[in-house]
């Protein structure tokens, strides 16, 4: 446990992770609620592919702790944890996931397409293709003389995609204020890192662009927090981009409905859950106790359940508006 971090921050990191997990559990529940007995991906109140980020909370919590709403975050097909940690309006985000008119995209986008211009949050379902626009946001921030930064997220599988390379080169060359975050959860759907990536980790690839590369092991939220602190500071001060790879954990399947037959290590997974681990450490350090944990969980649950209630109360879009919003 780093000594540089103070208890209030630790508490915030914990609260953030619990909020995210509470959210993902609630979405899991709602997603499957009406898809039984025969699972039908298109059925229910929340249809479509659902990629949940349980286990990856440390990355979002640790990185977004350093951001304010003027900073940009571009996430992936697995976006909820970053959206929450960056302060996206949870009610409207949830309404979007339910496909409702009060959703961030008025029901047009869905869970892989969450856009909150107030929080400068966006995401994309195409692997690594969120990176270039994130660099563009950073370019705009720099052109306007601000000290705002952009965070771009991908998985370790995505780091083999051309867009990753092009964006890192561009951002390094132009010294853009971007923090490139790679969530290494060991898997790209069913393909392990060893079958997708020719080097042991992606932090090594930072050298190919002349920028700092950091690898955080063990899904350690405080180490993420520390690495991100440096990277954000560097970016705000005109020092250009940093690549941070976090070795994290995909606690559940790639998407809901994934039986993970390909995943030999499956029994070991729950034991690696970062939240109990961090909770235990904070209890040990005297920062958390039963009461504090209960407060955090209750607050998270209240926030999440009220977002879900908000979503369910919002009307579905009117079919006659199908042609709207193609053009401004």
């Amino acid at each position: 446990m780093s000594s540089r971090i103070d208890a209030a921050v630790q508490r915030d990191l914990y609260d953030q992770m619990v909020l995210i997990r509470t959210y993902e559990e609630a979405i899991l529940r709602e997603y499957h609620a009406d898809k039984k007995p025969a699972f039908d991906i298109g059925a229910g109140l929340i249809p479509g592919e659902m990629h949940l980020a349980a286990g990856q909370e440390p990355v979002a919590a640790g990185v977004c702790a350093h951001l304010s709403r003027g900073d940009a975050v571009t996430a992936t097909h697995r976006p909820h944890h970053f959206a929450i940690a960056h302060g996206v309006d949870l009610n409207r985000m949830t309404a979007e996931i339910f496909g409702r008119v009060d959703g961030l995209g008025r029901g047009r986008g869905g869970h892989m397409h969450l856009f909150d211009p107030d929080a400068h949050f966006s995401c994309s379902g195409i692997i690594a293709e969120g990176y270039p626009p994130a660099a563009g946001q950073a370019l705009a921030f720099k052109k306007r003389g601000t000290d705002r930064v952009a965070v771009a997220v991908t998985g370790e599988g995505a780091a083999n995609q051309g867009a990753f390379h092009e964006t890192l080169n561009l951002a390094a060359l132009w010294k853009l204020p971007v923090i490139f975050v790679v969530e290494d959860n060991d898997w790209g759907i069913s393909v392990p890192r060893s079958a997708s990536t020719s080097v042991a980790n992606n932090a090594e690839r930072a050298a190919a662009y002349g920028i700092p590369g950091v690898r955080v092991e063990d899904n350690a939220v405080e180490a993420v927090h520390e690495a991100a602190r440096e990277a954000v500071e560097r970016a705000r001060n005109g020092g250009g981009p940093t690549l941070i790879e976090v070795h994290t954990l995909r606690l559940w399947g790639h998407f809901e409905g994934d039986a993970q037959g390909y995943r030999a290590d499956l029994e070991g997974v729950p034991g690696k859950d970062p939240i109990p681990t961090y909770e235990a450490a904070l209890r040990e350090a005297g920062i958390l106790d039963d009461a504090a944990v209960a407060i955090t969980r209750r607050a998270a649950s209240d926030t999440v359940e009220s977002a879900i209630a908000f979503a369910k109360a919002s009307p579905e879009p009117d079919p006659s508006t199908v042609r709207d919003y193609v053009f401004a």
Binding site: G109, I126, A163, G257, P319, R323
Partner: protein, 360 residues
């Protein structure tokens, strides 16, 4: 909580149940029909191999390769990194050296990350080389929406591929055609884009389509690329369509036949490049009424081309303005009520057909 997406429904029928005269068949879903066709060609020809994301242990996200890894091993069924330009390009290079790769682009929606390899290389090398270099390969890819997968995972986009010269484009609507067109595609000396609709794979985790399981010949079975099929003969209105929409059209046709509204002919294109213009014109010449049902975007695509083939042949064969039932030039919306307004649903098809036969 989790569902085994790799598991197939029991599909093997008993060939002995078939009437003696007809070729022996077994009942398979479309996914299994594709897999069987691929496996048979892999057995016949050791130059055939499969590569793509999650085609190995996972068996293909839409079950297009289930079981192949176990049968043929990792040298011939290769999981790839998420690098579509890299591995589709690699398939092209292997094909120019005489191998016959089958490469999967997981969703057609991802074409934008690798289109240069597809349209500037795969499709043009034969021409640029004056016919001296062949590129015998299959690019298979999942298409279609209807399950709320949003604007980047629900498209058909066959018009985009068909517009660019040098690749054949096939789009089966049922298990037998999927098998027969896959076999033809693998044996073809040209690059063939094989587009299969998720909604007719017969996946256990999607809404069931009653025609996604059907008889597939057990022997050598080739469907010639470039020939449309008359899925249902009729005399009042021609519906030209393909892929999942064939089933919607057939359902509507049965309904309208039953209530005496119209006798609808349904043409299943099966192949877009080459396009069976003759079959379309022959049918429309008889019926005088044309409804085009296309799950791709409406403008500048397949439906336009069909109209043009008629207009340059003889516009007077049309007794009424044509109707198009396609995605109305909007990205596929996520929310179900919007998505099902954008898609060519049975309700929209029915309305279009009724519009054709209604007295003006």
């Amino acid at each position: 909580m989790s569902i085994d997406t790799t598991q197939q429904p029991a599909t093997e029928g008993d060939p002995a149940e078939q009437p003696a005269a007809a070729p022996a068949t077994k009942r398979l879903n479309t996914a299994k029909a594709m897999v069987e066709a691929i496996a048979r060609e892999m057995e016949r020809d050791e130059d055939v191999f499969v590569l793509g994301e999650d085609v190995g242990a996972y068996g293909g996200i839409f079950s297009s390769t289930t079981g192949l890894l176990d049968r043929f091993g990792p040298e011939r069924v290769m999981d790839t990194p998420i690098s579509e330009t890299g591995f589709i390009g690699a398939a092209i290079g292997a094909a120019t050296e005489g191998m016959r790769p089958i490469v999967e682009l997981m969703f057609v929606d991802f074409f934008g990350v690798c289109m240069d390899q597809i349209y500037n290389h795969m499709a043009k090398i034969h021409f640029e080389s004056g016919g001296n270099v062949k590129v015998p390969m299959v690019l298979m890819t999942a298409v279609g929406g209807g399950y709320s997968d949003g604007a980047q995972h629900s498209q058909c986009l066959w018009g985009t591929f068909a517009h660019l010269p040098g690749m054949k484009v096939v789009v089966p609507s049922n298990p037998a055609d999927a098998a027969g067109l896959m076999t033809a595609a693998i044996r073809d000396d040209n690059p063939v884009v094989f587009m299969f609709h998720k909604g007719i794979q017969g996946l256990p985790w999607m809404a069931k389509n009653k025609r996604s399981i059907g008889p597939v010949p057990t022997g050598d079975h080739v469907v010639e690329i470039g020939k449309a099929a008359t899925a249902r003969p009729g005399s009042d209105v021609t519906v030209v369509t393909l892929s999942l929409s064939v089933h919607h059209a057939l359902d509507v046709a049965e309904e309208l036949a039953a209530d005496g509204t119209a006798d609808v002919e349904v043409i299943d294109l099966r192949s877009i490049v080459p396009l069976d213009t003759e079959a379309i014109i022959e049918s429309v010449t008889r019926t005088g009424h044309l409804v085009i049902v296309d799950e791709d975007y409406q403008s500048f695509g397949l439906s336009g081309e069909i109209a043009a083939r008629i207009a340059e042949h003889d516009p007077t064969i049309l007794k009424a303005p044509i109707s198009r039932v396609a995605v109305p030039d909007v990205p596929i919306p996520y929310a179900r009520p919007l998505e099902y307004t954008a898609l060519p649903t049975p309700a929209r098809i029915k309305e279009a057909i009724i519009g054709q036969v209604a007295p003006a």
